[in-house]
Symmetry: C2
Subunit: 155 residues, 2 copies
């Protein structure tokens, strides 16, 4: 997959968390291998459909990081993942994808976003089913880790 | 949400499991309440984008049912949810949505499908984040239960 296509998602995620929750994410080494999977306790997922391509994006958070983001964004820290946390993860998913969409649209790549879905459950794994290449990118922070995964059926 | 829009997903799911895996799903009572969530051990999710609407579909299976479907479709029953099972759930998600898409297209509702995503993890919950109405539909079978959830931001 074209780096030009991945970077807007990475910078959009880093941006959203820095501006909304004063949380700095450090990108780790991207993984391309098919046997790596994104793991987390709460994940936001969204489908994307364009004239030439279709694909999907997910962002998975460790529980500690998701709860800390709640604290920093809203000033309240729930004891565990609840409906407010999944709402926030849905919003972050929308914002990150929307930011990337805007940047990519300026480069001539267009797609529409479906509605976000949030998954909650200890240590679930996410697998994007697509014929094309997949990129998994781990992030670390002072409050826990996150995994971004993005894939498209072409590119 | 229009019943005309939900029924093709229900009949497509029942059809796919009956023809592919000789498994009869019995639909239970649909739930509309916001506090109900779909629960399962392995789920297939897909985003949908049309000219007037966008939305998402998910189907969540209890582990026992997913493994029995593997046995009936492929003649081999894995001990637990593995990559073959998530592949199968991704395929079922594609087939069910594709069947509903075809039927709805004939009725003048058009949408494109994103690529499917499969979630695996004991008793995870799925929440579709959308402003419009959501329908959760439980199914029972001789091998375990399943939850279908579908929502659109309009309709």
């Amino acid at each position: 997959m074209n780096v030009e296509f991945i970077n807007p998602f990475i910078s959009s995620l880093v941006n959203v968390l820095e501006t909304m929750a004063q949380t700095k994410l450090q990108p780790g080494k991207p993984k391309k291998k098919g046997d790596e999977v994104a793991v987390g306790d709460v994940s936001g997922l969204i489908g994307m459909v364009g004239p030439q391509v279709k694909g999907s994006f997910s962002i998975s958070f460790e529980e500690s990081l998701a709860l800390e983001i709640m604290q920093r964004m809203l000033g309240e820290k729930p004891a565990k993942i609840n409906a407010e946390v999944t709402d926030m993860v849905g919003e972050i998913t929308n914002m990150v994808t929307g930011g990337a969409k805007l940047e990519l649209s300026g480069k001539g790549y267009d797609f529409d976003m479906a509605t976000p879905i949030v998954v909650s459950g200890k240590q679930h794994t996410i697998t994007h089913k697509v014929d094309g290449p997949k990129i998994i990118l781990p992030f670390s922070s002072d409050a826990g880790s996150a995994y971004l995964e993005i894939c498209f059926d072409k590119l």
